[in-house]
Symmetry: D2
Subunit: 349 residues, 4 copies
Amino acid sequence: MVNVGILGATGMVGQRFIQLLDKHPDFDITALAASERSAGKRYEDATTWYLDEAMPESVKDIEVCETKPEAMSNDVDILFSSLPTDFAAKIEPAFAQDYIVASNASAMRMVPDVPLVIPEVNPEFLGLIETQQKNRGWDGFIVTNPNCSTIALTLTLKPIYDAYNINKVYVSTMQAISGAGYNGVPSMAIVDNIIPYIGNEEEKMESETLQLLGSFEDGVVKDADFKLSASCHRVGVVDGHTEAVFVELDKDEDIDDIKQTMANFKGRPQELGLYSAPKNPVIVKEEEDRPQPRLDRSADGGMAVTVGRVRKDAAMDNSFKYVLVGHNTVRGAAGASVLNAELINKEIL
Amino acid sequence: MVNVGILGATGMVGQRFIQLLDKHPDFDITALAASERSAGKRYEDATTWYLDEAMPESVKDIEVCETKPEAMSNDVDILFSSLPTDFAAKIEPAFAQDYIVASNASAMRMVPDVPLVIPEVNPEFLGLIETQQKNRGWDGFIVTNPNCSTIALTLTLKPIYDAYNINKVYVSTMQAISGAGYNGVPSMAIVDNIIPYIGNEEEKMESETLQLLGSFEDGVVKDADFKLSASCHRVGVVDGHTEAVFVELDKDEDIDDIKQTMANFKGRPQELGLYSAPKNPVIVKEEEDRPQPRLDRSADGGMAVTVGRVRKDAAMDNSFKYVLVGHNTVRGAAGASVLNAELINKEIL
Amino acid sequence: MVNVGILGATGMVGQRFIQLLDKHPDFDITALAASERSAGKRYEDATTWYLDEAMPESVKDIEVCETKPEAMSNDVDILFSSLPTDFAAKIEPAFAQDYIVASNASAMRMVPDVPLVIPEVNPEFLGLIETQQKNRGWDGFIVTNPNCSTIALTLTLKPIYDAYNINKVYVSTMQAISGAGYNGVPSMAIVDNIIPYIGNEEEKMESETLQLLGSFEDGVVKDADFKLSASCHRVGVVDGHTEAVFVELDKDEDIDDIKQTMANFKGRPQELGLYSAPKNPVIVKEEEDRPQPRLDRSADGGMAVTVGRVRKDAAMDNSFKYVLVGHNTVRGAAGASVLNAELINKEIL
Amino acid sequence: MVNVGILGATGMVGQRFIQLLDKHPDFDITALAASERSAGKRYEDATTWYLDEAMPESVKDIEVCETKPEAMSNDVDILFSSLPTDFAAKIEPAFAQDYIVASNASAMRMVPDVPLVIPEVNPEFLGLIETQQKNRGWDGFIVTNPNCSTIALTLTLKPIYDAYNINKVYVSTMQAISGAGYNGVPSMAIVDNIIPYIGNEEEKMESETLQLLGSFEDGVVKDADFKLSASCHRVGVVDGHTEAVFVELDKDEDIDDIKQTMANFKGRPQELGLYSAPKNPVIVKEEEDRPQPRLDRSADGGMAVTVGRVRKDAAMDNSFKYVLVGHNTVRGAAGASVLNAELINKEIL
């Protein structure tokens, strides 16, 4: 068993980490870090639990420590981070001197020697770790996963990207409120309403997706070379991001081939049989009114992305369109970091 | 005063007709038609009123008649129709023998000699009326307005189309539940959920928009020649469709010019000072998180479309993107037919 | 293993039956009955599946039969019924000639020789079965469970009723939309709204609760003798009924005793260790803002009722008040019938 | 014209004040006070406007001043206050030395020499002003209105209280999110959920209602002497509090008399023809599923309370029950203060 800790353990993504790690066969939660205010308290006393599944017994009595390396116990190997961006930028490097940090924070994603990884998409980017440790003289390292809406999109584009030539992608999102944290979206903003703006989200989707689908050669990441434009919107759904995707290829492809390509997609986690890997990263549905967030977000424990309405775009040349749903706090956040850690544990440790 | 009647008077769009016509300076409601079940009753007794503004006193005592020409009183000149498609296809032509039918139904929209009109966009299409009457030997005629999501989109594209050359448009909608009628969307389908499918909606948007922006020469309508692809989704908003729009032009245009072009747009209704015409058909907002359906749907009595986040699309060549909100049952339905009737009343009667 | 069938198998409660019975250690689903339209089809083809957990593989290939005794296979012992009231009134007696019917329908609940049972509350009412079979000459019999809002309320009142003397109970409900079936509540009725009326619900709560807490002596059920008044309202929650309860006792009781009494309550299912029995039928929470339907409805698989804000009612003599949440389609419907069947299987078969 | 100012002018209730006062025939907005951060800015620049009706032109250019007497211009006579409780407790008395303060804050409501007034219910309590000024040596004075949920309840109880003898009232509320301010209720707390707790709300309802229905004799307020118990809950409705009310009288009364008594109720504002007075403070509906917040909250501009389901409580002696809806930020907040000011303007100034 590998001992793991969680940075930001009392927040919503922190709680998802606990939920996903509670019965994990390889990882054992031994440290929970949070703000100064929580430090020293039992986890149960420090936390307002927001998930519908009850708080696991195993963490209730863990004493919350402060989020700094000197407060962290020595027998932890991997730290999962769901820290706010600004704080993550300062403190994750400090932890990385001694620990492996599997981070869901956006702070280090675009740093050239920090791998941004979806295990099914670009596991080879973990090769950057060596460079990172050399550059920085760290014993540990940082691995990041992308933004929630990026992960769902990229998982569905990966098989397309490998099989065909993509020219352009337009994506319009309808994102769940949990993505902003428990206090992130006021109810007055979302009941009978839509907020057509999420700070930095479009920029993240546009840059991260191209990096994830890019190449890693001679120690350098090179972006994929198609064009991608995003428009991001918040809607009154608790969990599960929905995305409408328009894809232009370089030539006309058969729509059934495209569906098969997505449905048959498997990546390294499926080959390795990683514990949190979904059987199929992309599930393709044929019903005319799916995917729906409430019904499809929890597919394969929330780790699979569900795709539907895969259809020829008759209005455009060489084009098709589809809709996807992915669980933003499982596959799009805590589950993404956990799968990264499982890959590291299998292939690197 | 012109005497008007409403076909489908007890339904949700029928109720909007009543609300918009109640204090109208040129139109006087004298006939209300509904199903056999309602016929013979006082309107108040026949109707479950769904609007938050109370039922106008003036219609409460009107006796509902059946929806057939022989039941209609002779002193009506214009009939507003919000009939279901199948029924409209059968009965609107029968009414058109003697009456002017301003229809919100989709049945006749794509019939070559029936004008599909947004007064600010293509008032000249009313020229088809003459052909229609000649072809069919009718004393009356049918004029239609487009689908709710099409109207909002087309109003914002019209100034762009006139000022620049559009290559392509992608639009992804987040549509209100009222668009499906009171019983159209079960609450189980929309609470904490999205339905990523609306029957025929994408087809309507793709075909109607190009026709509306097309030309009318020598008695023939010719579609606009750019490409338009739509993806349509239902969200838990009561009124007000939100649409994310991506536009590719043939060359790079200044984003401030584009905003000005939309904000300055005026059409025939504004020139003529029609009663229901909004001061500006398109309102451009600069706040980063507008338009929002709850806050913007009622702009200018629900007859203006609000646009925001008009921004350069850095990922694509010669492109920009924006978000719009339009009131689907006012500007997108009853108000559209009323404005058509006002234009007819001013220019044809 | 006991072979079981489901009447109304394609509906929402029917789907919950399947979910609860799929891995059941004692029951094996061998028959699924639905309307004529579905009969003859594979269950998967006949059904639009509405639950977020996927349809179990085991039922997909079962051929749906019509809902009449002659269409039912002989090797079924227990039939779970979630039929509409009117149809249940006609067809359940026909099935009861040969089968055990554990019914969630309201049709037969108030028939004097049909037991209305919550296993933790009044298991002894099963004694009516003998009378029922004798009266009617049936080989099978019918056992019913109460209305969803009644079950949750009665489970929390039972320990109070046993320990103290109740004078009066007032209850005001905030009920989930799933209680009306998938198409029962239009979204226009519930988004940014409340419907302050549910047909017959108040009457059911007022009569059923008193019967359930009543006595069964000499073959006759006698109602409990306190007064109970209900006001029932529908709110935009997917699953989980919330109820505000005001209780007047005959004398002043200690509020901590009252909490302990509820928290310590166990009934026959707990003694017998029935498979679907929650560890504690009533969970008492101390947080000031619990129970909440989204967070508490699934407690103990949805079979426990969660109570919070148990507090002295300072304004009234000898009174206290509390709030409860119970899962309306699990504990309040399918799970109730399943627990009844488990009790029958253990004590009668 | 009386010059008025608004304390807390940028908040949600502050915005309602502006909306209600914009076209007011007797009041002219000349001062807008807010936090230090807003002071010195134009109102339009200082404010994120949350109402669906646009910000009135007349206030856009007013320079926001700080919320302290020395920053207030001299030519203001009445100040409307929607300040947070703690701040109101400190600053309202300072303002009252020179100004009339019509306050919606709860800080001073229970102070013995500060009148708590609903003009239709207890206009005579304004007699306390003299005492207040004498006690404190102020040139101005403070008048308060009750809590939002109290106002709606008390308006419906007043005619009952006057016509019959009330023994007991139980009330269970379903309150709108706007009552907590724009940022008060996180969307994660209310989508597919209910929060069964609102801090201090039950205490306010229980104490304020009895005071309002009490007597004012010899300069002293004496509470009404029936019993009242409240349970308060937050639901996902934007505006409009819904309350289920159970009333026990001292003897059996005819239910139609009770309805007539409520429907015929008029108070001082109706006699005086005050500008914001609803024609009928209580509207009684006969439809079985009314009142509904989305449909009924705006009755008579949001100043009337709508009552429905007035029915005999067959389970209890001498009892009836009903449901009410009142607009919490109009009748329950800004409109309440404005009506108080209109009464003061007519009867005292």
